[in-house]
């Protein structure tokens, strides 16, 4: 079956612009995670959804970052007033509820010029 997909695969934007990154989880998965990863670092947790609600958004670095999952499937990560330091690979993962295996998408590489 289809895995987790993320669009776009690459996004180049200018400092100060707004961007949206999309994640399509595996059908039926209630848990959805967003991470960002800088070169040479491990994935940094951003936010975790169970269904439509954010169960834990403690990883969002500041109020420029926001994520939604209105129907409990597709999620969008929104970044306002982008900064050069936001450049990273943004990873999405989904899974069934509980603590079982998470399946990762290929990521979106965001470059802020």
């Amino acid at each position: 079956g289809a895995g987790v997909s993320q669009t776009p695969s690459n996004k180049v934007t200018e400092k100060g612009k707004y961007v949206e990154l999309r994640c399509d989880p595996i059908s039926g998965h209630t848990a959805l995670y967003w991470y960002r990863q800088s070169l040479g670092q491990g994935p940094e947790f951003l936010i975790y959804f169970q269904g439509t609600g954010a169960a834990d958004d403690s990883g969002l670095p500041n109020d420029r970052f926001f994520a939604v999952r209105p129907e409990g499937s597709v999620s969008t990560l929104k970044i306002q007033r982008t900064e050069r330091g936001d450049s990273a690979v943004y990873l999405c993962a989904s899974g069934t509820s509980g603590a079982d295996t998470q399946y990762f998408g290929p990521g979106t590489r965001l470059t802020v010029l």
């Binding site: 491990g42 994935p43 947790f45 169960a55 603590a99 998408g105």
Partner: protein
């Protein structure tokens, strides 16, 4: 939330040798998972070991879990150049978020 810490940070071996990576964590778990990442893209799930298990095998992978020491190890036997990647552990407890450490960067030289 839980976060695993992998050790060593980097490991370089020759093809055919075994590679051992360790993970430590701090609180109780339901299970612990190991993931592999190539080229900074999506992580791939390798193996899950539950808290009531002590050892698990999958092909050339062997994972051990010591809940009394709050540690796990991943052994890759007869390594191949294609095993070159970063390896991460993820200790899990119920419906909690999943966080990663910096990982172990494994290089297998042909």
């Amino acid at each position: 939330s839980q976060q695993g810490e992998e050790d060593p940070q980097a490991l370089s071996i020759q093809e055919g040798e075994n590679a051992t990576m360790n993970c430590s964590y701090k609180t109780s778990i339901n299970n612990l998972q190991w993931y592999r990442q190539n080229s900074g893209r999506g992580l791939v799930h390798l193996i899950l070991i539950r808290s009531n298990e002590r050892e698990k095998h999958s092909g050339r992978l062997r994972v051990t879990l010591d809940t009394s020491k709050k540690s796990s190890s991943l052994l890759i036997t007869a390594s191949r150049a294609a095993d070159t990647a970063s390896y991460f552990c993820a200790p899990r407890y119920n419906n909690t978020d999943m966080r990663f450490g910096a990982g172990t960067r494994l290089t297998v030289k042909p």
